[in-house]
Structures are given as structure tokens and as C-alpha cells.
Symmetry: C2
Subunit: 305 residues, 2 copies
């Protein structure tokens, strides 16, 4: 599957270069060697490489650059966030969860390998993310142990029961929650928002950003995160499976609580645009340095996958 | 279920106190508040509290004490290791893995709650372990960020594809591997040995142990880890489900590669005793300070659950 972000942001040669850099680093960090069972490494790499928008690592790099940090310093953390994202997709697709057989235009991990291996792929990718933050992040870099500990704490909280995993739990139980916008907001803040938002914060921490800057990054992230979820719901409701890279119309089939189901397609589009506008306004004080983050925000609004 | 370790080590009032301290800390650290979905928190606490030998956290504390560190400083790391252990049990019991319905004398997590929640419980406990190491471990303690980063890197590696998760993958595929002692050793070094061994190393790191001391701790841990697995296999082969707290004879039913299957009961017992002797010899240079670790090693040999 072609990387649509790369195409849409192709005019921005720098972001294209970042994506290539992220792909290379993910490839390098997932070459575990003979200390890991071969099939497990293979399944981890299958789930991590060759596909995906790389939105979260791009946010880490863009936030780090905007706050004056070194991109090379941010690469391990960018990859760690992507590993957590990749693990969550593998587990979300499991038979005991959403039971999906297609992801990023190819068979999901448990279909391609087997059920037990897919569980272990998710578990191992999460461990590898923290191994990276405790190892590569401070090796040959300007990142101090204090900054590394901060990044690890942020990622752990955003990934766990108060963040992404908690959001998935809410989502699975959404039918028993009141079908209101408040419920929808609560689910998405955790399920998608937490990891997107923390990507920006981690980029800021690595750059040594001030508290005020970190707050702006968090606000930007929350808005982009919600917009991302609205456009995700819209793609499920209106997109074509071959472009989106996964089964569509599944929300509707499951009677899932989504923005289009609650507000209709047009109103959802308007909401997404409004959220991106709000996100962009969080970056005003950064001036021209915010241009890459602005580009990424606009991509979230206009994306086709 | 009564905590048999506490009874067997009751003559050692200090270890009994440690177990109580660990239980209290696990209870405290798993009170997440309303930021986590209620059912998820409840299921995490169900899987983490009220049962378990607490062997790994005891090893963290005993190693830290032996190397002259402060026990209070080691409590968060002790709990983090136990959370990783607890998560691995929840995932090992899943229908897609060993499909067990009983653990520590009660229903396994996916039976008591549901399949999806059990997956998320494991995922969230792993995140929480790293959150603890990045937060509580350095808060109001003598542990520096450098030490915390070291502990995080060690735990992440021991938990992931090169350690515990890799060992579980090997174990699941053991039927396709040659039925030799080498295979058995490789599986157990990763599946059980890695986390037991790293518990000791983490205790040492927190105490500021020397490289030589850390090596001795690792060697001790590898031997105790293997002995633990041999006695685990022996309990499965000869123990009573109500004492052991989980279904027994399941290895035999599955035709699993185990020590008793390969060498017989008596020879396996001899091997376990020999491993514990080897373990104890690693502690010679620590003199009388090693007494708690010696007690724990002997418990591993004589345990009934």
C-alpha cells in the first residue's frame, strides 16, 4: 500500500525525509537477533514495518523540531511511540477484541501467524518500546536520564488503563454507556487522544521545552486527536476498504457509537475542521516554526486512510 | 488460599513483614481512581492482589538488602516486577494461549470478567509497571534517574521477546523443537529465568551494587529460575490442584516437554536440589547478609504451590 501521507506531504521534502528516517529506524530497532524466537521477531516486524501513516512518530519529531531540539535525539522516542501504537493495533484486531482480519491492506497478525503469537507480538512490542526509551534514547545523544524517565512515565501513563488501553475498554463497553457526546469524547480522549497527545509532549520534553510550551503541545494534541477520531469514523462510514486499508462500515454494522452516527456526515466534517482550527490556534506563539505541525494537522483533516 | 511462602518462612519474621509490605504497596499502586474504567481497574486488581507467592518482589527486596540498599527505595521496583509477572499470567491463561480457567485457586481473569478485558488487564499491568519505575521509584527516594533508567531497561528486556514473552513463544512451539535438555533449558531460561534473574539484578542496581555483585546476583537468579521451573513441573506432575491452586497434570495431558517427562520424578528432584546448591554457592562472598536469599532459595526447592 502506498504511503498516502508521504504523497500528500510530498511537497514538504523534509517530512518525506522524516518518514524515511522513521522507517529505517523501526527496521533497525526491530532486528532483535537470535535472542528472540525467529517466528516472534518475524511477526513483530510484520506488524511494525511496511505500512502505517507514522503519524505519531512524525508528531514526536515535529514537536521536537518546533521546540528547538535535535531530530536525531528524538528518533528512538518516535519509534517507541509507534511500537506502542503497533502493539495496540495487533491486540485490538484479536479474536477476543474486534476480531478483524485485515489491517493496512494485509492480513492481521493473528491471521497471518497465529492467535498466541499475536498476543505475544503485542506484549513484546510494548516491552521493546520501553527498552528503547531506557537504552537508545540516552545513548550517544543529548537526552539526559531525567528526560528519559519523564518520557517513559508519560508514555506508560498514556498507553495504560488511564489512556489507550482504558479507551479501548470504554469502547468495547460503549453500548452500556449513555449514547452522548460526553461518552464519545471520553472514549476518544483516552483511546486515540492520549497517545497522539503524548507524542507531542515527548517531542517537547526531548527538546527541553518549557512548561508553557508543553501545555500548548498537549492542547494541540488533544484537538488533533479528537479530529483524527472523527475522520477515522468518517472514513469507516464513507471510505472504500481498498483505500482505507481495512474493513469499512464495521462501526455501522456493530451499531457503534461514532460521530457520523450521532451527528451525521456533514456535521462530523464540520466538527473535524473546527477541531483542527482549534489545534492550529494552540501553535500561534510558535510562529513559523510550527509549519510542519500545521501541515500534519491539515493532513489529519484531509486524509484518505 | 493461604500464602504458603509466609507460612514456610514464618520463622523469618522479617520476610513475613516484607510480604505484608509488598501486598500493601500493590494495593496502593493499583488504586488508579476514576481515570481508569472501573471494570478494568477491578479486573487488574483481581489479577494482581489476593494471592501469589510474591517470589519476584521478595527477590528484589532481598537482593537490595544484601547489597546494602534501602528496602523502602526498592518497594516500587518490587511491585513493578510483580505487575509484569501478573500480566504474564493473565495473558498465558487466555483462550488463545494455554486456555486455563483456574489460577491461584480462583477463576482466571478472562473467566471472571471477559476475554477482551483480560487482554487489556495484561496490557495495562505492563504499562503500570513502567509507570511505577518512572514515577514512584525516584519520588522521595535515594534512587537516581540513572538507576531508574537502568532498572527500566533491564525489566523491559527481561519481559520482552528476548525474555519472558520469547520464552512463552518457545514453550508454545516446543512440540516442533527437538525434545532435548538444551531446548528445555533455552525455554526456561527465557520463560521463567529472565524475570526471576532480573528481579535480583534490579534489587542490586537500586542498592548501588558493584558489577561483580550484579554478576553473582544474575548467576544466583539463573540457577534459582531453573530450579523454580523444575519444581513447577514437579508440582504439575505430582501435586494436588487444591494445594497448587491451579489445574495440575496439564503438562502430561498436552505431552509437554518437562523435566519430569524427560528425566523422571526422582532425577528431576535431584536436579532441582543441585541447582539450588549451585545458586547458594553464588552467594558465598556475601556472607551472613545472604541469609534471606538463602531462605528464599530453599523455599523454591521445597514449595508446595
Amino acid at each position: 500500500m502506498t504511503n498516502v501521507v508521504a504523497i500528500q506531504l510530498e511537497s514538504d521534502g523534509q517530512i518525506k525525509g522524516w518518514i524515511e528516517e522513521i522507517e529505517r529506524a523501526l527496521d533497525r530497532y526491530s532486528q532483535i537477533g537470535d535472542q528472540s524466537p525467529e517466528l516472534l521477531t518475524q511477526a513483530m516486524r510484520y506488524s511494525l514495518l511496511g505500512g502505517g501513516k507514522r503519524l505519531r512518530p512524525l508528531l514526536v519529531l515535529a514537536a521536537c523540531e518546533m521546540c528547538g531540539g535535535s531530530l536525531a535525539d528524538a528518533i528512538p522516542a518516535a519509534c517507541a511511540v509507534e511500537m506502542v501504537h503497533a502493539y495496540s493495533l495487533v491486540h485490538d484486531d484479536l479474536p477476543g477484541m474486534d476480531d478483524d482480519d485485515m489491517r493496512r491492506g494485509k492480513a492481521t497478525c493473528h491471521v497471518q501467524f497465529n492467535h498466541a503469537t499475536a498476543i505475544l507480538v503485542g506484549d513484546s512490542l510494548q516491552s521493546l518500546a520501553f527498552e528503547l526509551l531506557a537504552g537508545e534514547l540516552t545513548a550517544n545523544s543529548n537526552v539526559t536520564p531525567v528526560q528519559a524517565v519523564k518520557c517513559i512515565g508519560l508514555l506508560a501513563k498514556a498507553a495504560g488503563c488511564q489512556g489507550m488501553a482504558g479507551g479501548q475498554q470504554d469502547d468495547l463497553m460503549a453500548n452500556s454507556l449513555p449514547a452522548t457526546e460526553t461518552t464519545l469524547l471520553r472514549i476518544h480522549r483516552r483511546k486515540t487522544g492520549a497517545l497522539l497527545s503524548v507524542s507531542l509532549e515527548i517531542g517537547g520534553v526531548i527538546a527541553g521545552a518549557s512548561q508553557l510550551q508543553l501545555e500548548k503541545l498537549r492542547d494541540f494534541g488533544q484537538n488533533v486527536g479528537l479530529a483524527f477520531q472523527v475522520t477515522d469514523d468518517l472514513l469507516d462510514a464513507t471510505g472504500d476498504a481498498s483505500t482505507v486499508g481495512k474493513r469499512t462500515r464495521k462501526d455501522d454494522t456493530k451499531g457503534k457509537l461514532t460521530y457520523p452516527a450521532m451527528f451525521g456526515i456533514e456535521e462530523s466534517r464540520r466538527k473535524a475542521a473546527e477541531l483542527i482550527q482549534q489545534a492550529e490556534s494552540c501553535l500561534q506563539s510558535f510562529g513559523a516554526k510550527a509549519s510542519h505541525l500545521q501541515d500534519i494537522a491539515r493532513f489529519v483533516l484531509e486524509r484518505q486512510q
